[in-house]
Amino acid sequence: MNLTSRTHDGILILTPDTDRIDAAGAIYLKDQFRSATAGVEGRVVMDLAGVTFMDSSGLGAIVSALKLLPGRKLELAGLTPVVAKVFKLTQMDQVFRIHQALSDVTKGDGANAA
């Protein structure tokens, strides 16, 4: 699994190149995230619109990624139904800043937490 990164108006946008963040892929996510965000001071948004499945191992990897961002929240965009359910059931949806879609972030007012 790879995270592709791009910057939009100073916001780092990370996109996993997989449709599943599960036990088999979770171990790679934290390392990829660490190198992608090294030295980045601004907002970081992970675009999950292409991720149709995430299990508790994947959730754990996202939480470990959050801890790599001192003093700010990791933002997530475009949660698909199963992914959104995992965040909601575990109440991790309160821990992250969640946007309906990446376009909510790139349009400028990305504050509509779901």
Partner: protein, 163 residues
């Protein structure tokens, strides 16, 4: 161990039955099996993606748990899975030869606390919580040297329709 191709069987449309058996082969075998079962379930339950999503999560969590704990993280150990569709209900049964569940019982319902400082946020411990949430009253039996797990899933909306 040779990675055996999962055995999947679609029975008559009347009972909507589907079944799978497999042996884990290597890292990624669980993902491949879950994917294959889900393709099958999507055909059996085309109008119920929510229930299928619940089943996908329960299957993945149960199989990961067997590999990580029952088999101490060693890939390539045997697990049998059967998946049955009965109307708007999905039943999943697994059988493995790993170590028994601690206390010979399924862990109680426990959601790790998330209202804690960021550095203390839990990165694990959610697997059984998700299973309990999506497949209420999971069952476990130890018979001989085998562990057997059994899960039943219904959609919240499907439950409302039938009650």
């Amino acid at each position: 161990m040779q990675h055996e191709r999962p055995f999947l069987r679609a029975a008559s449309p009347e009972d909507g039955l589907s079944e799978a058996r497999f042996f884990t082969g290597k890292t990624g075998a669980i993902r491949n099996l879950v994917r294959e079962i889900m393709q099958h379930l999507a055909l059996a339950l085309p109008d119920n993606p929510e229930l299928c999503g619940n089943a996908e999560l329960v299957l993945a969590e149960a199989l990961n748990n067997i590999e990580e704990h029952g088999y101490a993280g060693i890939p390539g150990m045997p697990v049998q899975v059967s998946v049955t569709v009965l109307g708007n209900m999905i039943q999943v049964a697994t059988r493995d030869f790993g170590t028994p569940m601690p206390g010979l019982t399924i862990p109680p319902i426990h959601r790790p606390e998330v209202e804690v400082p960021k550095d203390a946020l839990p990165e694990g411990g959610f697997g059984w919580f998700l299973i309990h949430s999506l497949a209420p009253n999971p069952s476990y039996t130890r018979r001989g040297n085998t562990n057997r797990l059994f899960f039943k899933m219904r959609c919240a909306s499907a439950q409302a329709e039938t009650s």
